[in-house]
């Protein structure tokens, strides 16, 4: 008797096997007495279970339904959502993911182009993209007022802070958008999970 055949005996007994696997089990049973004995045990157990519950006098279906009708509460749930709404609900995560990918790609490409333009990779052809200079007002004022006293290291440090400020300002909007989309997606997952859990409980 092999484990392989043993593990399929219950499925065979329950009528769950088809085709070649069923034939293989039957062929094996024809030559394997221990497996036949085990199958017989499963059948006996099934018979025992079937006989273990004597027929009880339950209410008839009509009587039961009549009694139940008196106990049925008013259903709090509203009508089933319209088909269009259901489709939109299931498409929501796909739409959110697509929006997230779109924002991410356009942001990455935009950043790469801006960086390339700053380094002069495109020469003057992208000047129109650069628009206003990236320096912030506070930086220009500080350099004008204290530039002489700060010296090169001081101005360099201010320039670094300014670049950091510019970078954060430029990134803030797309990052906020990404975070918003991510929260919407996670929110959808949470609602879906809660609904599934509720259904499972009932």
């Amino acid at each position: 008797m092999t484990d392989h055949i043993t593990q399929w005996l219950e499925a065979y007994h329950d009528g769950e096997l088809r085709g070649a696997r069923r034939r293989r089990v039957e062929d094996h049973l024809a030559v394997c007495a221990p497996c036949r004995a085990e199958l017989e045990e499963i059948r006996s157990l099934s018979g025992l279970l079937a006989a273990a519950f004597p027929e009880e006098e339950f209410l008839t279906a009509d009587r039961f339904a009549a009694n139940l009708a008196l106990s049925l509460p008013r259903r709090p749930a509203g009508p089933e959502p319209r088909r269009g709404f259901r489709i939109a609900w299931w498409l929501a995560p796909a739409g959110l993911l697509a929006a997230l990918v779109f924002v991410d790609i356009t942001f990455s490409i935009g950043t790469a182009i801006a960086f390339a333009a700053d380094t002069g990779l495109f020469g003057g052809s992208l000047e129109w993209l650069q628009g206003a200079p990236p320096q912030m007002n506070w930086f220009a004022s500080a350099v004008r007022l204290f530039g002489d006293r700060l010296g090169t290291p001081g101005v360099g440090a201010l320039a670094f802070l300014n670049d950091l400020n510019v970078l954060i300002t430029q990134m803030a909007r797309p990052l906020m958008l990404q975070a918003l989309l991510a929260f919407a997606y996670l929110g959808w997952l949470l609602v879906w999970w809660l609904n599934s859990w509720e259904e499972l409980k009932n």
């Binding site: 593990q7 219950e10 499925a11 329950d14 009528g15 769950e16 017989e40 045990e41 499963i42 006996s44 157990l45 099934s46 018979g47 025992l48 279970l49 079937a50 006989a51 273990a52 519950f53 004597p54 009880e56 006098e57 339950f58 209410l59 279906a61 009509d62 039961f64 339904a65 009549a66 009694n67 139940l68 009708a69 106990s71 049925l72 509460p73 259903r75 709090p76 749930a77 509203g78 009508p79 089933e80 259904e199 499972l200 409980k201 009932n202």
Partner: protein, 189 residues
């Protein structure tokens, strides 16, 4: 279920989902026997089973809007029925005090009355089923008494097919151990 019955049932479900109590009553009449069969085997007690069945149909009525048309109402009801039966058992404190060590099939040779022995044997089997873990018992009852296929059980309980097989195997192994020795011989009595 033949096609015309399936179509008729789909219409009844739609009406019931729109609040038609008469349509729901007809659905209850159609599935009453199956639900009772499952909850009775889950609970092992007729009175408890009646309560659990009523509870199951009330829950189903309240949740009917979440039922997806095109899927099996029977399987959906069985899932609710299994949970209602388990809740009924939890409420029934008597079952918590079950002495599992005392479970064994009485020997027919020792009893004076065959009928008494038969009742004792039935009782032993029912108690053995009741002592199974809930997850394994649910699968066993749906298979042995509900007549559901492995796929239907998987769908009804929302578990993978492999889990159905392993839980069923576990339940049967435990029952064979509990009802040992010689239950096969006693079957021939």
């Amino acid at each position: 279920m033949i096609i015309s019955e399936t179509v008729a049932e789909a219409a009844l479900i739609e009406q019931a989902q729109n609040g038609d109590r008469h349509a729901y009553g007809e659905l209850v009449r159609r599935h009453h026997a199956g639900v009772i069969r499952v909850v009775y085997r889950m609970c092992g007690d007729p009175a408890l089973a009646e309560d659990a069945a009523q509870d199951a149909f009330i829950r189903a009525w309240l949740r009917l809007s979440s039922f997806r048309p095109g899927t099996s109402l029977r399987n959906w009801l069985y899932r609710i029925a299994v949970n209602a039966a388990l809740d009924a058992l939890r409420r029934d404190r008597k079952t918590a005090d079950l002495e599992v060590e005392t479970l064994s099939l009485p020997d027919p040779e020792q009893g004076p009355e065959a009928a008494v022995l038969q009742r004792e044997r039935e009782h032993a089997v029912r108690e053995a089923i009741r002592t199974l873990p809930e997850a394994a018992r649910s699968v066993l009852v749906l298979r042995e008494y509900g007549g559901l296929s492995y796929k239907e059980i998987a769908a009804a309980l929302d578990i993978p097919l492999g889990t159905v097989m392993s839980r069923l195997n576990y339940a049967r192994s435990r029952l064979k151990e509990r009802l040992h020795p010689n239950f096969t011989e006693r079957e021939d009595d």
